[in-house]
Every structure is written in structure tokens, then in C-alpha cells.
């Protein structure tokens, strides 16, 4: 797929169960489910709107109030869910591959807290109002936290999954505290950040997505470019180096990709944890230890999870809504606990 792809007989591919066709078929199946959920996301809401109205809203626009609801609210919500979900899933897969840590998740490791804090500084203190302005703050925040957590969570023997999670929780707690302090000192910042902090894909304007899409595209290309080397690195740095993998370059590119994704997703939706934790595990369970397939499945499975969680949050407490970040925490925390309780956390 890319110039960085490993030789076809790379170890790690030899153990992969199932033929290529089956994995492709699974990918197509996931795509179908995703499309169904996208449609469901537009159709299901606090008020019932007939499918014909949805059709008209898209192709025969008029000033009908239900059409407004579709065009200005539900459709952007579905698109934001799709894009943010893809970004979160790929971030999770990348960071788990990079750290060889089955517990790694952009939320648990504090990446979204870093992005949130940087956005709070940009919006609240520096008065940046333009998404393309604070997008860079979000990415820088995520990048700094990534480097900090990598430094704190690695020992000489390699990285320890729990140590890394603890480092993330601690960095995240500090940044959240500092962010809260900033917001309390500066009520304007509080007002600007309030709706965004719960982690939701509702009410986010579509323009955000268009502005961030190019960065996501770059990150996607980078992710698949390093999937081969990351595959080789799963067996250990020394072995990978003997196969000609450039360790530092792979790490740097992977970090660039995942911070672009984590920063972008947080800039749009606010902090949403656990999606990046769960999805790569499911992907690995389906396709085995092959990074490129894991990445591909994660990109499709994560928006499925996010959209399903969002729809669930809309119908459980009608007419109230539960923000999607809260639903994913309730689904994801038990998964984290199950992963820890298994004798050997799933290997990478």
C-alpha cells in the first residue's frame, strides 16, 4: 500500500487466522452497518420525523420546520459522529500499537485533557474564536501529553501498561484542575467551554468538520504508512530493527498522526473516553495481530460504536438526552475492568 510496507513474509502475518477474503467481507459488513446507523441517526430523535420529510430535506429543501431540524441538527450530528468516531478509533489503534499497551486509550491517557486544556487557554485566555486557530492548540496539547505520558509510563524494561495509565490519569487530573481554575477565574472562558466539556456530538456545526478533515486525511495516510513498521515492532524493538524498521521515524510519524487525530476529535466533540480503548480490541479479536487490518476495522467500528451510543443516549431517557461521552463511559469502563481482570491482558 505504501513505500514503508514490510516484506510480504513479515512475521506476525504468518499467525493471522482466516483468509483475506473473509476480512474484506467483514469490512464490507461493517460498512453496511455503519451506513444503516448513519441513516438511523438522522431518522431517530426526540420528535418523530417521517422518512419522506428527511428525503425532502435533502433533495427538495423548503422552509418546513422539520426539514430545518434534519438539515441543521440531525444531519450534522450524524456526520460529526462519523468523523469523530473514525478519528477516535484510529487514535486508539495507533496508541495501542505504539505503546504495546492494551489499556491505552486517548481519554485514559489524558490526551483529550491536554487538548481540552489547550483549547481553554486559546478560547478563554487568548480569545481565539476560530476553529482553525484553536485546532492547533488542541493538537499541541495532545502532543505534549503524549510525550509526557510516554516518558512517565516507560521504564528501562519497556513500558508498563498500568504505569502508563496512571501517568495519564495523573496528567489528565492536573490539566483538568488547571482548566477548571482558568474557567473559574475567567467566566467568559467558562461560558465558551461549558457546552463542550461533556463530550457530545450534538450541536456541533458542520464547518468544524470541513476545517479538520484535511488534517484527518493526513493522519490517516500516516497511520497506514506506519502500520507495517508498527507490526514489526510488536515483536520487540531489536527484532524490528534487524528487519530494517526505522524505530524513531516510525514513532515520530505515529505520534504526529495520533495527536492530529486526538486533538482534532477533541476540538470538535470535547472529551470522549473509552471508544479508542474498546474498538481496537474488537478489531484485534476479529482480524488477529495485523496492524493494517486492525486500523482499517477500527476506522469503521469506532463510528459504529459512537453513533450507536449516541442513538442510545437519545432514546433511553426521552425526551431528555444523555451526551454520548457519558454513554461510552458506561459501556467502556466495564470493558476496561474486564481487560484487567483477564489473567493476561490481550497481547498486542
Amino acid at each position: 500500500m505504501t513505500a514503508l510496507a514490510p516484506p510480504p513474509a513479515a512475521p506476525g502475518t504468518a499467525r493471522v487466522p482466516g483468509p483475506r477474503q473473509r476480512r474484506l467481507a467483514g469490512l464490507v459488513g461493517a460498512l453496511v452497518v455503519l451506513l444503516v446507523l448513519l441513516v438511523a441517526s438522522v431518522l431517530i430523535g426526540s420528535t418523530a420525523i417521517a422518512p419522506s420529510v428527511v428525503w425532502d430535506a435533502l433533495f427538495q429543501p423548503s422552509a418546513d420546520i422539520d426539514q430545518f431540524a434534519i438539515r441543521d441538527y440531525r444531519l450534522p450530528r450524524a456526520v460529526v459522529g462519523l468523523v469523530v468516531g473514525m478519528a477516535l478509533g484510529l487514535t486508539g489503534a495507533l496508541i495501542q500499537a505504539l505503546t504495546r499497551n492494551p489499556l491505552a486509550d486517548p481519554g485514559l491517557l489524558g490526551l483529550d485533557a491536554g487538548a481540552s486544556f489547550a483549547v481553554t487557554v486559546a478560547v478563554g485566555v487568548l480569545g481565539v474564536r476560530d476553529i482553525s486557530g484553536y485546532m492547533w492548540f488542541a493538537v499541541a496539547g495532545a502532543l505534549i501529553v503524549t510525550l509526557m505520558v510516554l516518558a512517565l509510563g516507560s521504564t528501562r524494561q519497556g513500558s508498563s501498561p498500568v504505569l502508563m495509565v496512571l501517568a495519564g490519569v495523573c496528567v489528565g487530573a492536573v490539566l483538568r484542575g488547571a482548566g477548571d481554575a482558568l474557567q473559574l477565574i475567567n467566566p467568559e472562558a467558562f461560558d465558551a467551554m461549558r457546552s463542550w466539556n461533556a463530550g457530545s456530538i450534538a450541536g456541533r456545526p458542520l464547518e468544524l468538520v470541513w476545517q479538520i478533515l484535511p488534517f484527518f486525511a493526513v493522519a490517516l495516510i500516516l497511520a497506514f504508512a506506519v502500520s507495517g513498521p508498527l507490526n514489526a515492532m510488536a515483536l520487540g524493538d531489536e527484532l524490528a530493527a534487524t528487519q530494517g524498521v526505522r524505530l524513531t521515524r516510525t514513532r515520530v510519524l505515529a505520534i504526529i498522526a495520533l495527536t492530529l487525530l486526538a486533538g482534532g476529535a477533541t476540538a470538535i466533540a470535547g472529551p470522549i473516553a473509552f471508544v479508542g480503548l474498546m474498538v481496537p480490541h474488537v478489531a484485534r479479536w476479529i482480524v488477529g495481530p495485523h496492524q493494517r487490518w486492525i486500523f482499517a476495522y477500527s476506522v469503521l467500528l469506532a463510528p459504529i460504536l459512537l453513533l450507536a451510543a449516541d442513538i442510545l443516549g437519545r432514546i433511553v431517557m426521552r425526551p431528555n438526552e444523555i451526551p454520548v461521552g457519558i454513554v461510552t463511559a458506561f459501556v467502556g469502563a466495564p470493558v476496561l475492568i474486564a481487560l484487567v481482570l483477564r489473567k493476561k491482558a490481550s497481547g498486542l
Partner: protein, 345 residues
């Protein structure tokens, strides 16, 4: 156990108290520091007072405005910081000793989130009294403690599993709390959110006395249990051989530790990281081999006072004390991870 330190033995009739000299000395120095910090806190405010004025107001030598400022306005807050800080310090010491893990902290392993959830449900759903709030926080903390303990239990509780299970439960309860606040009336929600940051704003004598009475009883229980606690640190079998009834002792310690955190949470909202920091700092100051309760209590009180002082006077707007402790404590935790935990985990 003899840790090779000089020991002071006080005997009166049939009761003998063995005290380590270094602990006694450390407690004395810490008590002085706490007193100094308390006087500084009583001096500072929109109406500045001198140390002499504060001391004479405390000893009854002042009347009128100065007396009111010191005794009615500032003293409840200082007393609350002292008592709550000591309570958190001891609570952390109990958990770190029980789990034999320097990272065990009620905040990290989810108990304080559970207390917060219990209290929030009382505030938002029942709209209860202060006592119901205390009850809710206590119940929430206990239930979370039991849940985390049971989930992490697999032929014994290992520190690492407990912490990650705690992080998971904590994340879940945290999002439940966010949602409870989002769903509530704006006015109630704002009050609850301010309280959720952990603040000593608006503590009255009434609250301090109620909370202080609960905490005093719990501290006494902790002192009684401190001997079996030290013996449990050596392992269950060794403790049992020394005549400790292991299961009841551990259950009692967990109950006291959770109750200490929950009482503070009910009164002021979750003030995190003091329970993590205090026992560790105390251990370094007193140079004891294990975790000891009295120095941890003093360090907890000092930390809470100092953090609340910073919270009130360092920023242009008074902040909740919990924000200061999160930032300081998180920084310390990072350092701890960097130096110590990597050897122990």
C-alpha cells in the same frame, strides 16, 4: 517490631505506649508549622490583621470587629481545613498501609467519586438535609469501595488490579456525576458543581462541629486499629501469628478509611490528592519504615491549610481548594511515578 530506632515507652499503670522518637519530634515540628500556617491564614484577607491581633483574639483579648473577623469569619474555615486535612491524611495512610501501595488513594480508586455520587443524588433528587447528605456520601463511598474491592478480588487483592478497576469505576461515576449535574436545575446544578470542585467556601461553625465530631470519633477508631494495621503490613500470616484477627481488622480499617473520606466529601466536596500526598510526605519526614497515622494527620492538615490559603489568595478570584490540591498532588504523583512506583509496580 523494632525498626532500629530509639523508642520512647510511656507507662502508666497497665497501659504502655511505645512511641518512636523521630515520630514524636516530627509531630511536634509539624504541629508548630500547622499553628503558624493557621495564624497566617487568620491574618490574611480583605481586612489585614497582625499576628498579635490574631493571637489575642483567639485568647479572648479582643472584642468587636477584630474578634468577629477572626473567630466568626475566618476561624471556621481554618478549623475546617485543619480537621478535614487531618482526616484525609489518615484516610490515605490507612489505604496505603492496607494495600501496601504508595499510590492507593481514595480519589484514584474511586471512593471519593462514589461519595460525590451519593451526595449529588441526595442534593438533586431528594433535596435533603445536611445529615442526609452525609449519609448519602457515606453510603456512596462505601458502596463504591465494596464494588471496587469485589471486582478487583481474585484470591487476594493486588494493588495494580485494584487501581485500574478503581480508575474504571471512577470514570463511570464521574460521567454519571456530570450527567446528574447537566440534568438538574441550573441553580442547583451550579451549587452542586461548585461543591464538586471541593471548596471550603461558606463553611459555618455548625458544619465544622458536626463534621469534626464525626471525624474525631473516626480518628479514635483509627488510632485503636493502628496496631493491627502495622502488623497487617507484614502480611496476613505474620499478623495472624501475632494474634491479629485479620478479616475483622481489615474490614474495620476499610470502613474507617472510607468513612473519613466520605465525611469530608459530604462537608466540602471531594478534596483530592491530600490522602495520596500526606502519608508519603509524613513517612519521609518521620523516617518511619511504614505508614504511621499521626504524622500523616499533621501533614494532611498542613497541606489542606496551605492549599486553601493559596486557593483564596493566589488567584484574582478565590478558587475551590480542590483545584489547588489536584494540581499540586498530580504533579507530585507524576514525580512519584517517575522515581518510586516504577520500582514497586
Amino acid at each position: 517490631m523494632d525498626f532500629g530506632q530509639r523508642v520512647l515507652v510511656l507507662r502508666r499503670r497497665r497501659i504502655a505506649v511505645r512511641l518512636e522518637w523521630r515520630s514524636v519530634l516530627a509531630c511536634a515540628v509539624l504541629a508548630l508549622a500547622v499553628a503558624g500556617m493557621a495564624v497566617l491564614a487568620l491574618m490574611t484577607g480583605s481586612y489585614q490583621l497582625s499576628a498579635g491581633q490574631v493571637v489575642s483574639a483567639l485568647t479572648g483579648g479582643q472584642t468587636g470587629l477584630v474578634h468577629d473577623i477572626v473567630v466568626q469569619w475566618r476561624l471556621p474555615r481554618v478549623a475546617a481545613a485543619l480537621v478535614f486535612g487531618a482526616s484525609l491524611g489518615v484516610s490515605g495512610a490507612v489505604f496505603q498501609s492496607l494495600l501496601r501501595n504508595p499510590l492507593a488513594e481514595p480519589g484514584i480508586i474511586g471512593f471519593s467519586q462514589g461519595s460525590y455520587t451519593g451526595a449529588l443524588i441526595v442534593i438533586l433528587v431528594v433535596n435533603g438535609t445536611y445529615w442526609q447528605l452525609v449519609g448519602g456520601a457515606l453510603l456512596g463511598g462505601m458502596a463504591t469501595a465494596v464494588a471496587v474491592y469485589l471486582l478487583a478480588y481474585r484470591r487476594g487483592v493486588q494493588g495494580f488490579r485494584l487501581i485500574v478497576v478503581g480508575i474504571g469505576i471512577s470514570a463511570m461515576l464521574g460521567s454519571l456525576n456530570t450527567w446528574l449535574i447537566l440534568k438538574a436545575d441550573l441553580k442547583v446544578a451550579m451549587a452542586a458543581a461548585a461543591w464538586g470542585a471541593g471548596s471550603l467556601n461558606g463553611v459555618s461553625w455548625h458544619k465544622v462541629l458536626i463534621g469534626g465530631a464525626c471525624i474525631a470519633v473516626l480518628l479514635l477508631l483509627a488510632a485503636v486499629l493502628s496496631r493491627p494495621m502495622r502488623q497487617l503490613e507484614l502480611g496476613d500470616e505474620a499478623a495472624a501469628a501475632q494474634g491479629v484477627r485479620v478479616a475483622p481488622a481489615r474490614l474495620g480499617l476499610i470502613a474507617v478509611g472510607v468513612a473519613l473520606t466520605a465525611t469530608v466529601t459530604a462537608a466540602s466536596g471531594p478534596i483530592t490528592f491530600i490522602s495520596l500526598l500526606a502519608p508519603q510526605i509524613a513517612r519521609r519526614i518521620a523516617r518511619t519504615a511504614g505508614i504511621t497515622l499521626a504524622p500523616a494527620a499533621f501533614v494532611g492538615a498542613l497541606l489542606c491549610l496551605a492549599a486553601d490559603y493559596l486557593a483564596q489568595h493566589a488567584a484574582p478570584t478565590p478558587l475551590p481548594v480542590g483545584i489547588i490540591t489536584v494540581v499540586l498532588g498530580g504533579g507530585y504523583l507524576g514525580w512519584l511515578l517517575f522515581t518510586e512506583a516504577r520500582r514497586r509496580l
